[in-house]
């Protein structure tokens, strides 16, 4: 039978009930017994106890009544005693419960006797009888009375011991009953408790098992079912719970499986987050999946849908084991791609063995999962696993497939995009660099501007110094203020000449510097022999060295003998260094010119002297503009620009300069130059011939000049002077022209791109122009360079037009007519003075008082120059200038403003743009105007003189 919970509860209740009933019954019985006993005591003793006072009282009342009658001596009162007697008798009769029949009868008899005796005696006493008889009657009565008392006493007496015993018995019975009750009650309680505890233990054990079980289930531990201690409803509950747990366990496993897959996918998603390269995507994918499915080895092949599939990444794959690519359908990989479904192969027999540091393992199963999106397969994922392959793993791979495909696709797209972006970025960088360069350039320009101001200030000072000497000595001699003896005059002329040369050198240097600054310094590198170039320079300086008594030696390393450099610029550098060395080396000193290698690409040229040396604090200033050492500054033949120029010239070719010196021992100046710099040859234009036709009778000048700016300048200067000009840029062309015709004069640049000027000179002398005056124009300011050649004159670049024209005049080559200068001024006196001054100088002055007419004249026949007043009726000089500059014919005519007006800054600025010079009337006089004219016009007669 099943001990159901209900039954157990019923058992407890029943046990309780039985115990209660037993206790109650037993109690009832005990109560009853005790009650009987007590009732017995009561029935036995109570009537007697009650009867005694009743009887005594009734008897006393009766006696009292008789006594009262005696006291009152009234026999009639004895009738009342009769009633009392009856009452007493009645009491006795009614006391059958207390008295036995015998006792009652005896008592009744005694009462009757006493009553009769008392009545009789009392009557006698009332009657006054006394005496013996009465006395005995009284005694008799008294004895009877005593007998009654004794009878009452006897009849109502009871045994106190008996009573005590009875009570003791009752009490004992009660005690035993109580004892039994306690014992029975205790037994019942113990029994009920025992039953309850037993049942409770069983039930609670089951409940405990249930609770523990539910807790386990709550913690997702479904492995242990609930086992109850009893077979009751709790067992049913446990069974249901176990069924539920089994169900939950199945669900949990399902969920865990789903979760495993989802987590795997999520993890893969995390792993592939970010902008990754396709190779990174593949590597992360295969590493992640191999770890996740516990595959010791894996590989990922990727490629277009049509194949081939290349090995993009692998995991723990032994080197040289996997082919780099598979075509679609080729091998297992290709086959898996073609089938588009997961392939699982038992690989135990495959023989693939993976080695760790400790063991070798062979994958049991090979899994090939195509990476596909829709129908398009973009790769194959290959995994080798040791543990059994599960359906779950398949699900994971199948679901991961599309993600991987998409990410790979995205990575590919991104890589392409990134490449584009990189290109754009590079372009942006280049733009940025260009912008930075521009900025740098702007800064340099600003710096250059500041430098220029400083430079101009220095230069004006430097220029003024020799001019001072020239003008001063000239004035002394010209004015003839005192008699000049020929010796002194010769000395003065020598000073003037040296100052003039110094000035010329200065100007040449300045112009060179200006060119460098303007970036117009051009280099024409050509193969040369260093020894020869040094020799040429030393030849030029031979006089100086001889005068200084300094021995000059050359030490040229053969490895640097052959160089490709601009020889002119190289000579310039050498000339500067060597002439400097000579200047500062005392007699019997030594100067060494040394050419050594400075790396395979460069040559180091040193000029070492045994001069005074340079103090360290002055070395830094050496290569600055107009910076001279204290010693150098003392010398008149030092411009302070030589080294600055050298530095620029060298640096412009990508080289560097420097000096090391020790005071008292000497200095070493060096220049490091590239062995081959820039282009070696210049592109020669097909033809550079340019002809400006003047009047037909005008003499024709051939200008041989490769520098376009110089050529244009020479050409226009000559054309302005009235010559017909032909210009060419190359020696070959020049020779070709010279072969065609004879020229009245030739200006020849010594530095030409195709050949040297001297070569040209040599060749043209052999042709039609054998005797033509040739004016050599060159930056190489060396008189000796043309030694031995037949030249008319040698002019240093930059060339002043007047010097050229003067040279031509000296050669007797002059254009026809006189130069017309238009003078526009409303003041006739001014016109007259100016006309006189100009004609004295050989100009033809055309005077015009009306500015409007003057303007027309200038337009119709452009003069060589215009001298213009500002304040005029009809038209101001400003208006005149504005209109003049817009005319097609006369817009380039130089104008010298000659005015008495005080000019404001604005006006000065305006004039600066359109006029060549502004001269104040009165203050500076005509001479200044003439000087200005001379600067813009070729001088005429005066220079001829």
């Amino acid at each position: 039978m099943r001990a159901t919970l209900k039954f157990k509860l019923f058992a407890i209740v029943a046990a309780c009930a039985v115990a209660l009933i037993a206790l109650t019954v037993w109690s009832g019985i005990a109560e009853r017994t005790i009650e009987t006993q007590v009732n017995g005591i009561r029935d036995t003793y109570l009537p007697k106890i009650r009867l005694r006072p009743q009887l005594t009282a009734a008897f006393d009342r009766m006696s009292r009544t008789i006594q009262n009658a005696f006291e009152a001596s009234d026999a009639d009162l004895l009738g009342a005693a009769n009633a009392e007697h009856d009452a007493l008798v009645k009491i006795v009769a009614d006391s059958h419960d207390a008295l036995t029949m015998e006792q009652a009868a005896a008592l009744r008899f005694s009462i009757e006797e006493y009553y009769a005796s008392a009545i009789a005696t009392t009557r006698r006493l009332i009657a006054g009888e006394g005496g013996e008889a009465t006395q005995s009657a009284v005694q008799d009565m008294q004895s009877k009375r005593e007998r009654i008392a004794a009878q009452i006493e006897q009849a109502t007496a009871f045994d106190e011991h008996a009573l005590t015993d009875a009570f003791a018995a009752a009490k004992a019975a009660q005690h035993s009953a109580t004892l039994v009750r306690i014992v029975v009650g205790s037994l019942c309680i113990v029994a009920v408790l025992a039953i309850s505890i037993w049942i409770g233990t069983v039930v609670f054990a089951s409940l405990g098992a249930l609770i523990a079980g539910f807790e386990r289930f709550g913690k997702n531990d479904f492995t242990t079912p609930i086992v109850t201690a009893s077979r009751d409803e709790l067992a049913d509950v446990a069974q249901r719970a176990n069924q539920m747990a089994a169900q939950l366990q199945r669900l949990d496993e399902d969920r865990a499986n789903t979760e495993w897959v989802e987590r795997g996918l999520a993890g893969l998603g995390d792993e592939l987050r970010g902008e990754l390269e396709p190779r990174d995507v593949a590597r992360r994918t295969i590493e992640y999946l191999a770890r996740y499915v516990q595959a010791p080895v894996g590989a990922l092949y990727h490629g277009p849908a049509s194949g081939p599939y290349e090995l993009l990444a692998s995991y723990a794959l032994p080197a040289n084991l996997a082919p780099a690519s598979f075509a679609r359908g080729e091998g297992l990989v290709g086959e898996a791609a073609a089938r588009k479904s997961l392939t699982i192969i038992d690989a135990t027999a495959g023989g693939l063995v993976l080695r760790s540091g400790l063991v070798e393992v062979a994958p049991r199963t090979l899994v090939l999962a195509p990476i596909s999106r829709g129908d398009s397969v973009s790769g194959v994922l290959e995994l080798g696993v040791i543990r059994p392959w599960r359906q779950l793993d398949t699900e994971l791979l199948e679901r991961a497939s599309e993600t991987i495909a998409i990410v790979l696709e995205a990575a590919n797209t991104r890589a392409a995009t990134r490449e584009l972006l990189d290109r754009t970025q590079r372009q942006a960088h280049e733009l940025e660099r260009a912008s930075a360069t521009l900025e740098q350039r702007a800064i340099e320009l600003a710096r250059a501007s500041a430098y220029k101001s400083q430079f101009l200030a220095s230069m004006s000072h430097e220029l003024r110094t020799p001019l001072n000497a020239i003008i001063g000595f000239s004035e002394i001699m010209y004015n003839g203020e005192f008699a000049v003896d020929p010796e002194l005059a010769h000395e003065y002329l020598g000073d003037i000449l040296s100052s003039g040369r110094h000035l010329l050198q200065l100007i040449n240097d300045v112009l060179d510097l200006a060119k460098v600054e303007a970036g117009k310094l051009e280099f024409h590198p050509e193969p040369l022999a260093l020894t020869r170039v040094v020799g040429e320079v030393l030849a030029v300086l031979r006089t100086t060295s001889a005068k200084q008594q300094v021995e000059v030696t050359t030490e040229i390393d053969p490895s640097v003998e052959q160089l490709v450099l601009d020889p002119g610029r190289l000579k310039q550098v050498l000339y500067n260094y060597i002439s400097n060395a000579l200047k500062f080396t005392p007699p019997r000193g030594r100067v060494v010119v040394r050419g050594v290698s400075s790396g395979p690409e460069r040559v180091r040229i040193e000029v070492v002297d045994t001069g005074s040396g340079i103090a360290p604090d002055q070395i830094g200033r050496l290569f600055g503009d107009f910076q001279q050492t204290a010693e150098g500054a003392k010398r008149s033949d030092s411009t302070g620009l030589g080294l600055a120029l050298t530095k620029r010239v060298v640096e412009a070719q990508g080289g560097e300069v420097g000096v090391t010196s020790k005071v008292g021992e000497g200095s070493t100046f060096f220049a490091i130059l590239p062995r081959r710099s820039g282009e070696t040859t210049r592109t020669i234009a097909a033809s550079t011939l340019h002809v400006i036709q003047s009047t037909p009778s005008a003499p024709t000048i051939l200008v041989v000049e490769d520098e376009p700016a110089d050529r244009a300048r020479l050409t226009s200067a000559l054309a302005d002077a009235g010559y017909t000009v032909e210009s060419v840029a190359t020696g070959a062309e020049a020779l070709a022209r010279c072969a065609d015709r004879a020229y009245d004069a030739i200006t020849l640049d010594l530095l030409l791109p195709d050949m040297t000027g001297l070569e040209v000179l040599q060749k043209l002398r052999a042709g039609k122009n054998g005797e033509v005056p040739v004016i050599v124009v060159t930056v190489v300011a060396e008189r000796g360079a043309v030694a031995g050649f037949h030249v008319h004159d040698m002019l240093a670049k930059p060339l002043s037009d007047s010097a050229l024209l003067a040279s031509l005049k000296r050669a007797g080559v002059t254009p026809d007519g006189r130069t017309i200068v238009l003078v526009v001024d409303d003041d006739p006196t001014a016109l007259k003075v100016m006309a006189a001054s100009l004609s004295k100088l050989g100009y033809q002055a055309v005077c015009e008082a009306d500015p409007v007419r003057g303007l027309r004249a200038a337009t119709e026949q452009p003069p060589a120059a215009i001298v213009l007043d500002l304040i005029m009726p009809g038209m101001t000089g400003f208006e005149f200038l504005d209109q003049l500059r817009t005319t097609p014919t006369a817009h380039a005519v130089p104008v010298i403003v000659w005015t008495s007006k005080d000019l404001s800054d604005d006006e000065r600025a305006r004039l600066r743009k359109s006029a060549h010079a502004v001269v104040s009337k009165g203050n500076e006089g005509n001479a200044r105007v003439v000087a200005e004219l001379a600067s813009v016009l070729p001088a005429k007669r005066k220079l001829v003189v």
Binding site: Q67, F70, E71, T121, G128, G130, G131, V138, Q142, R145
Partner: protein, 148 residues
């Protein structure tokens, strides 16, 4: 009891004649006279003795003969006077005393006679008799005792 009575009688006899007249009280107001048998030697009695004899607290004369007191009826003035003077309580009180005595079996009151003459006669007839009568009553066979 008998012995006691004898003692009382002896006691009564031994002190000699006691005159009632010597009793101050009797002298002043008593109009009743205590009488005894003429042969009774006692001439004077203490009032106390008389009271005890009548209340039967003393039952013997000094010569050990029984004292036999006799009373007048309860309504007689002499009795009232005697009770008052000698017993020092009223008649009903004496009666109550006797009721207690009688119904406790200890004794009976002295017999009562209706007049003084009967008292005299009764005393004369009883040797140990003692009673009281109004003054002037013929004392035949009795004698008056002085109460002191």
């Amino acid at each position: 009891m008998r012995a006691l009575a004898c003692l009382i009688v002896v006691a009564t006899i031994l002190p000699g004649p006691v005159s009632l007249a010597t009793s101050a009280r009797a002298e002043s107001s008593v109009s009743v006279r205590v009488i005894v048998n003429a042969k009774n030697p006692v001439a004077r009695l203490e009032r106390r003795f008389v009271a005890d004899a009548f209340l039967k607290k003393r039952t013997r004369w000094d010569d050990d003969s029984a004292i036999q007191p006799v009373d007048l009826g309860q309504r007689s003035s002499e009795r009232a006077e005697f009770s008052h003077e000698v017993l020092d309580r009223d008649v009903s009180s004496v009666r109550r005393y006797w009721a207690q005595q009688v119904f406790s079996g200890r004794g009976v009151p002295p017999p009562e006679v209706s007049n003084d003459a009967d008292v005299v006669r009764w005393v004369a007839e009883h040797p140990g008799g003692i009673g009281y009568v109004a003054a002037g009553t013929g004392l035949n066979g009795v004698k008056t005792v002085e109460i002191e």
